[in-house]
């Protein structure tokens, strides 16, 4: 399999070599620069600059930069971006030239919901397979759970992406586990994306500028995960005017301030969000049952900050940071148990953009991210603490280079230093203290280099070829346990600081091709080989604050996936409608699960409970979107199979993964009645999750116990839900700079009791009467209305 992939890769590489663009006999010059939003000075990513006479062009990169090589001559440049007025500029090209463009929001755009920020036919013309971009305005137009606009829940409405559970921000992509999604916030990895056990994502929508997901042939610049990349970019801050925006909802409020420290030179954005359910309930808890619960509470908060400094035409600096915490406090009414449990992420990204010459764009990054929890409790005088820490320190050097018209080359290197500290426990009772010594931190160095070229072979064929080479080295200090034949630990081998323990490496070829069969129709194919060196193994069906990330070790080998994709893309009615059908087949190697007899112990290395196997997933995704007009939205449907095979589970037979969901349908509708009223609706239907239930009961020492059936043999009832929203936009004639709206969202409008989980309930005392067993379904959320007031002042 791998050999055939290498052959295919070399074949495509050869094809690129023998299909050069026509040689130019006249001198060539470069035009380059930035395309920005006039209103706030932010770079527009994916904006198009087209040369009318040559019917060629290019798009801006993630920072709004473009570069285009042309023969000397007279041209007309057409600069466009959906939702903005198109500019046509004549150009007499006789030398290298820098041209920046400021695009104005079109009058039409102000009346409509902007569904996409993509180039309007990007889905047909690009080589991207399985890529979807979401404008933050789209995210805000969809009914929100408890009024909290959530980018991850919007992503779950796309085909191929499935929600991990009721109201949960965790998601599965094309049969991969939640840990196989690389979630980036300004290039920093976010290890735990959920607040409140995953019911809310850590992304404050007011601070988010754009969201994109890659679920097909992952571009070579991304690595370290098997299934998808969710790239969340924070707003850069308004370079023109100061503005204040925010929202007041039922459970949380938000406030964002942004503006120029120095106009068109330096901007800053500060954004915060906090839940106040604890503050609202405190007065009631203070008197309820004599105040027994007055010290209980839960809240979370987020802080985002970003500084954007234009040093010169060639240099820009960015510093962005995120800090978020959940805090849970509980004191038992009996007074003998209390717990304080904070957890959360923090990230810092420093970036330096530099343009070498006119063609080479550099993005140098320093990245720090950390996820930790730290539990402290007192149970009848037993003081106990558990903490865990997942910390990355890394740097990236990424280059965009456009050597010729029709070529966009990306290359770079990434390095990450991982420190993964599993459960660290301390306990004190009177004079007795314990501290675990068997679960010390693990250290790893992850290094990758990549190169990719997105090039237009001819009018019909466009190819993206990429190669990523990755390496992971587990380094000391490290303790290798040695077990006897019965599995009992008999000795250990210690590795010194930075002493290599185990090194894994490999090539990860990526390729995709687009064949344009008509003006608005294309066929795309792609394949990718991806490796993952950091793993999260979880028993749960949702993301939890105490999930542990573990590195590849002597025992835990890197996960690997091989994915093939094939799709047909068709636009209709001048790109008003976008349609696609994509099929995929994915093979997964070195998959990790907990074994059947896993009992979590705080004094044991979690990897001792792992078992290893393989997986496969395949399916088809259908997508139809209406991208313009008063009535917009999309329908996504996925038909999928996801299976796993482990020697030590289900007698080495294939079984349905917990991510297996045969049908997944999402309908998203948005309708703008007029400038004041907007309606939104989403409908979700999904086959039930799989789970494992007991099939037999037995007595042991007079107590009834359960014998489970095969892994994941039972499928829960189907899930479906309708959400509705209505938004009223206020007119503020006395305060023309104030814009505000009131959003009413109804989650689960017909109050469907969807299955959250199912269990076998055994009731009764075997010695006093008959035992009754029944199958119970637990449902979380009935109909949940919420109301949020959003405002924006200035700008």
């Amino acid at each position: 399999m791998l050999r055939s992939l290498r052959c295919l890769f070399l074949l495509l590489l050869g094809l690129a070599a023998i299909c050069p663009l026509p040689a130019q006999s006249v001198p060539k010059y470069t035009i380059s620069g930035y395309i920005k939003d006039t209103a706030n000075g932010e770079g527009l990513l994916g904006a198009t600059i087209a040369v009318v006479e040559l019917t060629k062009g290019t798009n801006t990169n993630d920072y709004g930069f473009y570069s285009l090589d042309l023969p000397a001559g007279h041209y007309t440049l057409k600069v466009s971006y959906v939702g903005y007025e198109t500019q046509s500029v004549p150009l007499d090209l006789t030398a290298n030239v820098k041209m920046n463009f400021d695009l104005h929001t079109s009058a039409m755009a102000t009346k409509e919901i902007v569904v996409t920020a993509e180039k309007k036919d990007a889905n047909v013309t690009s080589t991207a397979v399985g890529r979807q971009e979401l404008n933050i305005e789209t995210v805000k137009s969809i009914p929100a759970f408890m009024g909290e606009v959530d980018v991850l829940k919007t992503i779950q409405l796309l085909p191929g992406v499935m929600a991990a559970g009721e109201g949960n921000t965790g998601f599965y992509v094309r049969g991969g586990g939640p840990d196989q999604n690389l979630v980036l916030l300004d290039e920093a990895v976010v290890y735990n994306t959920g607040h409140l056990f995953g019911f809310f994502s850590v992304f404050n929508s007011d601070a988010v500028r754009s969201v994109a997901i890659e679920k097909g042939a992952m571009p070579a610049q991304y690595g370290g995960r098997l299934s998808s990349v969710v790239d969340v970019k924070m707003s850069e801050g308004n370079m023109k005017h100061w503005e204040v925006a925010g929202g007041i909802g039922l459970i949380a409020s938000r406030l964002t301030i942004q503006g120029p420290i120095k106009k068109d030179k330096c901007s800053i954005i500060l954004s915060g969000r906090r839940t106040y359910i604890d503050l609202l309930t405190k007065p009631f808890l203070a008197t309820y049952q004599g105040g027994k619960y007055k010290k209980d509470g839960y809240y979370f908060y987020d802080l985002n900050a970003k500084l954007n400094y234009i040093v010169s035409d060639k240099d820009r600096l960015f510093v962005s940071a995120y800090f978020g915490r959940d805090v849970f406090d509980f004191k038992a009414p009996e007074g003998d148990f209390n717990i304080h449990f904070p957890w959360g992420n923090s990230t810092v990204t420093g970036r330096w953009n530099h343009i070498f010459g006119d063609k080479l764009f550099m993005n140098a990054m320093f990245i720090y991210n950390d996820y930790r929890f730290d539990i402290k409790s007192d149970y009848r005088g037993v003081i106990f603490g558990v903490s865990s820490d997942t910390r990355d320190l890394g740097a990236k050097l990424a280059f965009d280079y456009s050597p010729l018209v029709g070529h966009m080359v990306k290359f770079g290197v990434d390095y990450t230093n991982h420190m993964l500290t599993p459960y660290q426990t301390q306990g004190v009772f009177d004079s007795v203290s314990i501290q675990n010594t068997n679960t010390s931190s693990k250290y790893g160095h992850e290094l990758a280099a990549y190169v990719a070229d997105d090039f237009e072979v001819n009018k019909w064929l466009k190819i993206n070829l990429g190669l990523r080479a990755s390496l992971f080295c587990l380094a000391g200090p490290y303790k290798k346990s040695i077990f006897d034949s019965t599995g009992a630990k008999i000795d250990s081998l210690n590795y010194a600081l930075d002493q290599p323990v185990k090194t894994y490496y490999g090539l990860e070829p990526r390729a995709s091709a687009r064949f344009k069969v008509a003006k608005s129709t294309s066929i795309k194919a792609g394949f990718s080989l991806t490796k993952q060196y950091i793993h999260l193994v979880s028993n749960s069906t949702t993301t939890l604050p105490f999930d542990l990330w573990v590195p590849s070790t002597l025992k835990v080998k890197p996960q690997m996936a091989l994915q093939y994709s094939l799709g047909v893309f068709q636009n209709f009615h001048d790109n008003m409608f976008e349609a696609s059908i994509e099929g995929y087949y994915k093979q997964l190697f070195n998959q990790i699960e907990y074994g059947d007899n896993n009992v979590p112990g705080i004094d044991q290395d979690v990897e001792d409970f792992f078992v290893f196997g393989k997986g496969r997933s395949y399916g088809a995704e259908f997508f139809l979107k209406k991208a313009r007009g008063k009535f917009q939205g999309w329908i996504g449907y996925t038909l999928a199979w996801t299976q796993r095979k482990f020697p030590s589970i289900n007698n080495d037979q294939w079984f349905a993964a917990k991510y297996d969901r045969r049908h997944d349908l999402n309908v998203v509708l948005m309708y703008e009645i007029n400038q004041r009223w907007k309606l939104g609706a989403t409908f979700v239907y999904a086959s039930g999750n799989t789970t494992t239930l007991p099939v037999q009961l037995f007595y042991q020492e007079g107590t009834i116990h359960e014998i489970y059936g095969p892994r994941n043999f039972y499928r829960l009832p189907a899930y479906h839900r309708l959400d509705l929203s209505v938004t009223y936009t206020f007119r503020h004639r006395r305060f023309p700079k104030l814009h505000s709206d009131l959003n009413l969202s109804i989650y689960n409008a017909y109050s469907r009791l969807n299955p959250y989980f199912v269990y076998v309930d055994v009731q009764g005392n075997p010695y006093t009467g008959s035992i009754k067993t029944s199958l119970k379904q637990v449902s979380l959320f009935p109909i949940l209305p919420s109301i949020t007031w959003n405002f924006k002042f200035g700008g």
């Binding site: 509980f330 028993n539 105490f546 037999q696 037995f698 007595y699 075997p766 637990v778």
Partner: protein, 333 residues
């Protein structure tokens, strides 16, 4: 109580979270077809130092069948051929089936022993099923009860092999009764914020080498011995070389799923408390550790399959060796 230290987060926290979710959520009965995968043979056997081996042989039942003590007699497997060997000796020591109905001449204390091993808490001759066990032949039992002489009773630091032939299945197992290490003693400590409840404290000196496993039961006055709600087994990895005094958790009947949080784990002033403290081998520990930690049904944990120490087709259960020491203390009023 000691065990709860190990699981206070990973179990208590998960359980609390699940409970909070369930209590705030809606629960309803649904119908669903669970596959019929037949039944399993269930072995519930033990051998304690100074006592005869006892093996209960039953079968499992499908989930949606009625399962109560009055029907339990129907689950016993009769007519099995069973024997035990000790260490490397090939001598077969037969274990014979004895049912309560056959024990008219046997003292009630043995009946109680048998019933306790099932966890039966209320003796009512009209409702107690016809319990059957496999144990030493009646002649050996009579000698044991009359003279105390019991050459095939359990003894410390010996390994006991069990062989069962039932139906067309052959089941085998072995267990070792380790050295009985015991504890240093019991003491009393008043419960905080409550005048009538106390903690019974055990002072333990853990040997400098690890690899020791413990199971314990408590008895309050004339009640049977019960295991603690939070689990009955633990290992000493975290305590090696230390002398520590920790609260014991009062055992409760296994069918109680929601103990009273106020009195949970405590004893009352005036109680006579007896501790049954047993060293066990790792295989016995693994069985009870997996049996008692199944969080099935919670969305936050996967079902746990019991790690039996019985080999054979479709079998679950344990053949447990106990190195037991007993301790008593009277709690002042």
């Amino acid at each position: 109580m000691i065990r709860s230290l190990r699981h206070i987060y990973l179990r208590l926290l998960l359980a609390a979270t699940s409970a909070a979710l369930i209590s705030s959520a809606c629960t309803k009965d649904i119908t669903g077809n669970l596959p019929d995968l037949g039944t399993s043979t269930v072995v519930d056997g033990n051998i304690e130092n100074g006592k005869p081996p006892v093996v209960l042989l039953t079968r499992s039942t499908r989930v949606f069948g009625d399962l109560n003590i009055n029907d339990l007699g129907a689950f016993f497997l009769h007519g099995a051929a069973m024997y035990m060997t000790i260490d490397g000796d090939s001598t077969h020591i037969p274990l014979e089936e004895i049912c309560l109905r056959d024990l008219t001449a046997i003292p009630d204390s043995l009946k109680w022993t048998l019933l306790y091993s099932l966890g039966v808490t209320v003796y009512d001759s009209s409702s107690v099923p016809d319990v059957c066990v496999y144990t030493l032949p009646l002649s050996e039992l009579a000698s044991y009860y009359n003279t105390g002489n019991c050459p095939h009773c359990g003894a410390e630091q010996h390994t006991y092999h069990l062989n069962i032939h039932v139906g067309n299945k052959t089941l085998t197992s072995y267990t070792t009764i380790p050295q009985a290490l015991g504890i240093d003693g019991l003491s009393i400590r008043n419960a905080p914020n409550n005048d009538s409840l106390v903690n019974v404290m055990a002072t333990i000196t853990v040997p400098p080498s690890n690899g020791h496993f413990i199971r314990y039961w408590t008895q309050r006055n004339d009640e049977p011995f019960y295991t603690p709600y939070s689990g009955s087994v633990y290992d000493d990895k975290l305590w090696v070389g230390q002398t520590l005094t920790l609260p014991l958790e009062r055992g409760i009947p296994g069918y109680i799923v929601s103990p009273d949080p106020v009195t949970y784990g405590y004893f009352w002033k005036g109680d006579t408390v007896t501790l049954k403290w047993a060293n066990i081998d790792s295989r016995t520990y693994d069985f009870f550790n997996t049996l008692e930690n199944d969080g099935g049904g919670s969305p936050f944990s996967a079902p746990l399959r019991v790690k039996s120490n019985i080999s054979g087709d479709s079998v679950v259960g344990v053949w447990a060796g106990y190195a037991v020491k007993y301790y008593s203390i009277i709690v002042p009023k």
